[in-house]
């Protein structure tokens, strides 16, 4: 790994990595079962050089803002490197946003350059706001022959001979403007410096090192803080390889684990949950004797991995399970949303640890992570090296707002001094998340501060905390709300907590489901119990990182249904 203390910018660190690991493979790109691209660090450097030179000719200047809107692919990383090399600021936008949202964020960030997939560019061009864009140069990837490009250039042809000038940036200079969840209203552009990223990379790789030969499967969008760090910067400064798949169809993702012998992967909780369901279904199909042997192997593995994972033993004991994941998988990363402990435990018992962490764009990437010493499924792990965490104004249970101080905390919100002043106070980033530390220094999260419910008895209740008790409920999705949050009344009366259920297509509330809700509800202390349930017929609105947009959902429910729709338990 490079010594990042000697790097002053991401551009410098990446440039040094391309030279140092020249002959190692840095990128593999596959579409379904067809491998499209395989690049060494030296190949990567060559392609980026031509692009950087052409950008220079197009008037690209240090400090310019250049946005990328692309799904995960090699051109994303090559473009990002060319941007950093030229001393510019990268604006990575979520390709899953709508075209109108893209235009809003392009305008807010004042990006002058844009690198975008052809079909997304077409969608932008159809928007009424498109004519007001201030973009100077646009490059589109994979445009069909003879396609109308609306003034853009083809990425693949945008090349010049020669070497562009490397522009050295200082650690305190801006590297990226990253939009955290919260589009639609006031855009929150987190301004992150080169130091933020270099320090984050140092602390993450201290616990989860990469090295030449390691292969990271990049599935989470690269614009997301996690994939940007562990699917680009981290592997590159260590000489490892990133595997991009141009499809997210589960059957091809499963094959990719085996074909490319993946070492690490990051997943959102929903995909992890799907993987768990698939494995449980396969286990259930096993004939009795094989199932017995599997259960025995899991029990033995569990016993020997109580204190820490023993990857070699797990691979021997549970060979067929590990083989299905390629046989080289060391850990999966997840975070960004509340993960059910039972899912984490399921994979841990199979010898495939899931490093559950907690982070936010404003703090770089991750703030805490499970280090498996020992594994604690009910927490989001311990603070990473260099992270100073505090619980502000803890209540009698030790729960309060989590505040973070570290070199990874963003500089400010773009053009929003008020929000910056509310969020970063005396150098501490106020996360808005509620948590407490247990005796061994693991952070437990309870929910968002703004989602907290104060009961009539003055007790604090967190919807996310209650939701975890209903883990595994056989419905499509569910969440907890206080009735008064949805239907505010003049006389609040006793607060009623309720379960909002989104059933599977064709599913009805059976007596068995009702009984299961009642049984799980009884596990809760009385002040946390739900009094009823409400059926909701649409999918829950979620953020890019799959968190439920509670305020939006509450508004939708409030407009559509009345209190009478709540069925008492």
């Amino acid at each position: 790994m490079l010594n990042l203390d000697q790097s002053s910018s991401l551009g410098a660190a990446l440039r040094d990595a391309l030279d140092r690991f020249a002959l190692e493979t840095c990128l593999i790109e596959a579409d379904r079962d067809r491998e499209k691209t395989r690049l060494t660090y030296s190949d990567f450097k060559e392609i980026a050089r031509g692009l950087g030179r052409a950008l220079e000719d197009a008037g690209f200047k240090p400090g310019d803002r250049a946005a990328i809107i692309m799904s995960n692919q090699s051109k994303w990383l090559i473009s990002a490197y060319a941007i950093f090399y030229g001393g510019a600021v990268l604006v990575p936008l979520d390709y899953k946003l709508t075209a109108a949202e893209h235009l809003q964020l392009l305008a807010h960030s004042q990006a002058r350059f844009l690198i975008v997939e052809y079909y997304l560019w077409q969608a932008l061009a159809r928007e009424p706001e498109f004519q007001n864009h201030k973009l100077q140069t646009v490059l589109v990837t994979e445009a069909p022959l003879n396609a109308e490009l609306n003034g853009a250039y083809r990425w693949e042809d945008f090349r010049r001979k020669g070497t562009p000038e490397f522009v050295l940036r200082q650690r305190e200079d801006v590297a990226c403007i990253v939009y955290s969840s919260g589009t639609g209203g006031r855009p929150k552009g987190c301004v992150l410096t080169h130091e933020n990223y270099l320090e984050q990379c140092k602390s993450l790789t201290a616990w989860y090192p990469f090295w030449p030969g390691v292969r990271y499967l990049s599935i989470l969008p690269t614009n997301h803080a996690i994939d940007f760090m562990v699917g680009f910067i981290g592997p590159f400064v260590c000489g490892a390889c990133v595997v991009h798949l141009r499809t997210l169809r589960p059957e091809f993702v499963r094959d990719a684990f085996v074909r490319y012998k993946i070492t690490y992967v990051s997943l959102v909780p929903m995909v992890l949950k799907n993987l768990e369901r698939g494995l449980r279904a396969k286990f259930a199909e096993l004939p009795g004797s094989k199932r017995f042997l599997l259960d025995q192997a899991i029990s033995v593995n569990k016993f020997f991995s109580q204190r820490r994972p023993d990857i070699h033993l797990s691979r021997v004991l549970l060979r067929s399970v590990h083989k299905a994941f390629g046989g080289e998988l060391r850990a999966m990363f997840t975070g960004g949303a509340f993960m059910e402990p039972s899912t984490l435990q399921f994979f841990y018992d199979l010898g495939i640890p899931v490093a559950n962490g907690y982070g936010l764009t404003e703090a770089g990437t991750a703030v805490t992570l499970n280090d498996f010493k020992p594994f604690r499924a009910d927490t989001v792990g311990k603070p990473l090296p260099g992270m100073d965490l505090r619980i502000l104004s803890p209540d009698s249970d030790g729960i309060g707002e989590v505040a973070v101080k570290s070199k990874t905390v963003m500089s400010h919100y773009l053009d929003d001094p008020e929000l910056t002043a509310e969020t970063i106070v005396d150098g501490w980033l106020l996360t808005g998340d509620l948590g407490r530390f247990d005796g061994s220094g693991h952070l437990q999260l309870f929910g968002r501060k703004k989602n907290m419910i104060v009961t009539e008895g003055g007790k604090n209740v967190y919807p996310e905390d209650i939701e975890s008790v209903f883990d595994g409920l056989p419905v499509k999705e569910y969440c907890i709300f206080a009735a008064n949050f949805i239907w505010p009344g003049k006389n609040l009366g006793p607060e009623m907590l309720m379960l909002v259920l989104r059933l599977e297509a064709g599913q009805a509330v059976s007596e068995a489901l009702k009984q299961e809700i009642i049984t799980l509800n009884r596990k809760l202390p009385d002040f946390k119990r739900v009094a009823g349930y409400l059926l909701w017929e649409k999918d829950f609105p979620r953020t890019a990182s799959m968190k439920i947009k509670r305020t939006v959902l509450a508004e939708e429910i409030g407009k559509t249904l009345g209190r009478a729709a709540v069925v008492a338990l």
Binding site: D31, Q122, A123, R246, R249, P250, M270, A505
Partner: protein, 80 residues
Amino acid sequence: MRTADQTLDEILNLAATHFKVPREKLAPDEDFFKALGIDSLQTLDLLTRLENHFDVELPDYELQGVSDFRTLASRIQARL
């Protein structure tokens, strides 16, 4: 060779059958995420079924930003 209208009609029929939604509730210009009440993973499942039905390959990246049945039909029609 199917006409564009036939392709669209077959997509709507297939989506209605697979996701158990009354066919008459699906309109060509409707957002299929909302109309079918499906998430992105289930959409991938729908696309795989459509590929098998029409015997074409629909790259995920070509479908970025596509959320209504009519546009989806035009992408499939272009490959028939």
